[in-house]
Symmetry: C2
Subunit: 491 residues, 2 copies
């Protein structure tokens, strides 16, 4: 409460209200991905932190900087086990790299300064500062100077040599990029290295932020399904990790491998010890003496589609219309599988994805990205099942007058779960089980839901309708939602 009351005293601080904490934490993630610096969340005791936990999990996986301020009971009130008393520390520890509780008003400013540094360590981490009520309402000695930012660890000679030797060894090498390497400087340096050494390059399955489109170095993503990822990595004798982890499958399946590194393949981490990955790539390119010309994606857009509205025709529409510098937020799951192909030659844009597998990130992520980049269009591709986790985000988008177009894929199904149900070997699936993955009856009406939160929306049932509606939405500055009535992929 005192944090809220103090907002008017600090003009530099912008307060944004979410109607649910999962909106708040996902928005802070989206802000960090685009701004490159942390937002702070303000959460209320253990239950408020718990409500934000799924998107904090995703933020942890995205390795973005974020600071959670969690209000707690006054110090003397805490042992009384009042109704809202909860084990904030246990909950915070599950998603935070740094957790501190201020126990005196004298410490708050210093603890906050440490939280900022902790959040920016290793490229980005979740830091949680717990503030008891009386520590906030008592007189404090005032602000302190910010602590100096951590200096970036320079590339190490040993890692550079080991990777250079491996790349020139004649063995089949794959450079696996992740994290901060997926903007133009990292992609360009990696491409130079790959061209000079004959190595392959690809990126992790779910990038935090991937720059792509016409004029940008293209890169394939490691497939979600293990069988396809194994094919992509087949024959690799060396995998060079650059701000990425050794690849494993998303889930385990009966009788299938979880580890995707081929048998006998060596794995070398170019950035061990917290080395800045873009510097490491750039230095390595110089060390190897790579050329500077690299191939970039040519400009190419699909035709405006006609006919039935399907995942393919939605993707073609998006590819045909995507504005330059769009921030493409992707939580389209199965319905979006054609989007990457259809937008490969669209004007330059950034793609943000679901990094930690906890659905309900798309709308909040779009909200936060739009706050961070007010001059760019945000296009959010959102699945019906995932949308319903954090649908409250629509309200804040309108309230903050943001420029966001949402494509809401309505296929009345948790389609990805139906796929997973088949893949885990569950046989003879009956009606009761199928009903648990089905979103029809009653049908969700996203046009009405959007209206309920002040968002202008329309529904498309043909490719022509969808394309016209998407075009109108993108042309408008503000929040627009287009509900795309699509069949489940493969049906």
């Amino acid at each position: 409460m005192h944090f809220v009351a103090a907002l008017d005293d600090v003009p530099e601080m912008r307060g944004i209200l979410g109607l649910f904490e999962g909106v708040v934490t996902g928005a802070a993630d989206g802000y960090a991905r685009m701004a490159g610096k942390p937002a702070a969340t303000l959460l209320h005791l253990g239950p408020g932190l718990g409500n934000g936990l799924a998107n904090l999990h995703n933020a942890r996986r995205a390795r973005v900087p974020m600071i959670n301020i969690v209000g707690d009971h006054a110090l003397a009130h805490k042992p009384l086990d009042a109704p809202l008393e909860s084990d904030i520390d246990a909950i915070a520890s599950a998603v935070s790299a740094w957790v501190t509780r201020s126990t005196s008003p004298d410490d708050v400013a210093t603890d906050a300064a440490h939280a900022v540094v902790a959040a920016t360590e290793d490229g980005g981490r979740v830091a949680t500062l717990i503030l008891p009520a009386d520590v906030c309402w008592s007189e404090s000695p005032g602000p302190v100077q910010p602590l100096p930012a951590l200096s970036q660890t320079p590339p190490t000679e040993a890692a550079q040599c080991a990777v250079a030797d491996a790349l020139r060894s004649g063995r089949k090498c794959m450079i696996l990029l992740g994290g901060r390497t997926l903007l133009e400087p990292g992609l360009r340096a990696a491409r130079r290295i790959a061209d000079a050494t004959g190595a392959g390059m690809m990126c992790e399955t779910f990038p935090t932020r991937l720059e792509r489109g016409a004029g940008v170095v293209p890169i394939d993503r490691l497939a979600y399904l293990g069988e396809f990822a194994q094919m992509q990595l087949d024959g690799s004798e060396v995998i060079v990790l650059v701000d990425a982890k050794a690849p494993v499958t998303f889930f385990a399946y009966p009788g299938k491998e979880s580890v995707l590194t081929p048998e006998g393949c060596e794995v070398i981490d170019l950035c061990a010890g917290g080395v800045d990955p873009v510097s490491a790539l750039t230095d390595l390119a110089e060390r190897i003496g790579c050329g500077t010309d690299v191939a970039v994606a040519p400009a190419a857009r699909p035709e405006r589609p006609t006919g039935p509205l399907t995942a393919e025709s939605v993707a073609a529409s998006i590819g045909a219309l995507l504005p330059e510098h769009t921030i493409l937020v992707d939580e389209s799951n199965t319905s979006g599988i054609f989007v990457a192909g259809a937008t490969a030659g669209a004007p330059r844009h950034d793609m943000l994805t679901l990094t930690g597998g906890a659905i309900g990130i798309g709308l909040p992520l779009a909200l936060g990205a739009a706050v961070a980049a007010p001059d760019r269009k945000v296009l959010c591709l959102e699945s019906d099942g995932s949308a319903m986790y954090t649908i409250q985000a629509l309200w804040t988008m309108v309230r903050e007058d943001l420029d966001i177009t949402i494509v809401l894929y309505n296929n009345s199904s948790y389609a990805v779960l139906n796929m997973e149900l088949n893949r885990v070997g569950a046989s003879n699936v009956g009606d009761k089980a199928r009903a648990m993955l089905d979103l029809s009856g009653p049908d969700l009406d996203f046009v009405a839901l959007a209206k309920g939160m002040g968002v202008t929306a329309s529904r498309a049932t043909t490719a022509e309708e969808f394309t016209d509606q998407l075009e109108a939405a993108l042309a408008h500055r503000g929040v627009r939602l287009v509900e795309a009535m699509v069949p489940v992929i493969g049906m």
Copy 2:
């Protein structure tokens, strides 16, 4: 996934799909409150458990039995730190009295049997069973016999004597009831004791389930605001706790007491050591030799209100129309303060409240209560701000064809937070701070939100409109929502 796939093999098991885990855990709480036995939730790894955490916190405070089944990665997959890997144990420990992880298919059935017993201990607790994927998909030896239920601890001679002596000592005594004592048998026994000894009696501020209305022994609730609670307890020399805790304020405030027990007042727990509280009260009444006649609330209903729609006129409508045996779920917060008075003489009903202070419980609680008691009308009183936490519950209500009427108080404000902001001593509150507690701009349209999830809804702006709409909703079997446009209390 294997749990879902097995649903069709167990006809006794009913699977109910929620669109968000907070709906699921709140519904399990509502089920337990009315059925008196646990429901199981099925949650997906740490993020799914996290999404359910706020209502698990409320369930822990309600002391209801509940079993969470949390799916986890396969044993060999877990150390690989796949994207969804999370510290389930840390999160579960914050809300569960019992946490176990099955590590072999041989153990699952036995662990599940223990979970059932653990959930029913001490009247009701949250038990969490973590099931790794491969433990589920491997062959198991099959079911085991249920374990015997724990026998209830009989009243102890020492506690009975201590309380009897105190009640007959001439000191001013207050019997504070909670938990399981608030149905007719407990209320009646406590009233007999109070009548025979001159003691006062009241119940905890937020009852799990309170039986009330015409023909039932009435009881005052301890006030939410500490100043009023202090007045209620003023002069008490002995407080007798019966399935309740020594009273403390909800939050701490600068310069105010958190402990509500008056200075020098003795506190005696009639049920220490897990004694069954209703048996303890009944035995105590016999021991003291109380009479058996007790005064009950007389039948009385307010007139149908006319004029402006306000918190008062909404309460009068509810009092005028409440059907017998209604389950009244109350998350109306500030807007509902007149409801208890207006329904005191309404036909007999049960009231379920927000036990742990984590908002977003009302709609899920109503859903679960309706599943448990299909022959009873559920009337859910829900605030706008709280509703938006778990609005997804509406969809499941329709899908399960439940009999629920929702009164949605729309005052465009987190009114309770505005009150708290004033109470913590925050002075000179500015526009930015006020905006954080304001729900207008855009206005939430709950009729549209309801339509989006298949719920028939209407909006009332006068007392006459509201009364007519509520009457029609209550007369209909199914899900109906009436949006009541009310001013903030006191404005």
